[in-house]
Symmetry: D2
Subunit: 135 residues, 4 copies
């Protein structure tokens, strides 16, 4: 089952054209991933970051339709590929069923020295569970 993250479009997200300024979508995407680690993985970023990090190695986003102030978006996070050192995920943002953007990104794990490392078990186990539960 996908992880759903609700996000109302607020004044701060919008540009002079009255639609979301696209760099703000990347803050929403990051907030969604942060909530996913807290709520689904059970390792909140504020704990995870004491010993390591989960930088985004790459991200590609297609913007399908503009979002306006007050729109109630749902960012829906699904697993794509899990490897010992990476996790590819897709986030589809919709408003009342209309797709607004689709994001494909890959997270990697880095240890406290900032170097790539395998997922610790405390993260890997729930990532496997989530991947199995969300086919």
């Amino acid at each position: 089952m996908a992880f759903d993250f609700p996000q109302k479009v607020l004044f701060k997200h919008c540009d002079p054209a009255g639609i979301v300024f696209y760099p703000r979508y990347f803050e929403m995407i990051n907030d969604c991933v942060e909530a996913f680690f807290s709520d689904v993985i059970g390792v909140p970023f504020e704990v995870l970051l004491r010993d390591g990090g989960v930088p985004t190695a790459e991200i590609a986003v297609k913007f399908r339709a503009p979002s306006r102030h007050g729109d109630r978006l749902i960012l829906s996070l699904e697993p794509v590929t899990l490897t010992p050192k990476s996790f590819a995920l897709k986030i589809t943002a919709t408003c009342a069923g209309e797709v607004r953007f689709v994001s494909d990104s890959t997270l990697v794990y880095v240890g406290s020295d900032g170097r790539a490392a395998p997922w610790p078990d405390a993260i890997l186990t729930p990532l496997i569970q989530f991947s199995e539960d969300t086919p």
Copy 2:
């Protein structure tokens, strides 16, 4: 010749790990494109946006190495594909020659009604010139 946009990494760009928080890169990318329209195309966004807009239809970024507070980046913008209704561009960000990220994005033109439209001549002509000058 590519359009070079210098950007020092400032305090506001950096996260608790001391490196650039990646959504801030998208603000830098937008600033680079805004400066390109002002300096190369000769139609600053504050003029262009009176009658239309140039939304980003899609963007894909690969983060190659982290950037730290104080790093002096150069965002180098090159043309990829120009069509009557779109402009694909690549931005390569380097610091002292080391690549930090590579961004591929596509801009489209929308008229004052928010609908896709062909590039106005005032934008198309310098885009053609830039594309020819930057093989």
Copy 3:
């Protein structure tokens, strides 16, 4: 009764020292005021802004103690002074009872022409009610 707005300190709010970068507090303050208009006044910004606006005329903030990633803040909004054309309010942000910052700001109303104007009744009436209910 004060209007309470919960805000977890997220990764995006924090600086290289691991504490909230203070401009991010102003986004939280704005989000709190936006939620107050939506939830208490009954006129969400996305509706209000069709015909006018509520710019902040001045704001003064004292930062009492730093906030760290993961802290669960409560921004508590109280009325200070209501006039026909302005609304002064105080926001006290606390974490587990410790004050993190105190903000004093004044909102004014502007009409669709961007000029100062009296509060419309649809806003004034609930502002009076809130002021009376929160002595």
Copy 4:
């Protein structure tokens, strides 16, 4: 002599009303202070922050007139009060001579343990010089 920091109002600063969203002013203010430490004090934040920090203890801003996309602002930083442990400064932002906002803020010094401490000589000496040169 005041320290002048030029800042063009960019697309990213502006809200649906087409004017600067006020939390973005605080990023400009921080950028101005960061440039001041780099250019005038001779201790860039990326160096200063290795051993300490200069948090803003309080800030009060009056917004006098809105700023629009494309406006070329000058943020002019002047000293107000220098003490062994604090530095109060005023920033006046103008566009073509019209005042847009006036900010009064107080910086303090904290050591690597995050506790308030006297200014190190490397910072105090140029702060004294700046204060004497800008009566």
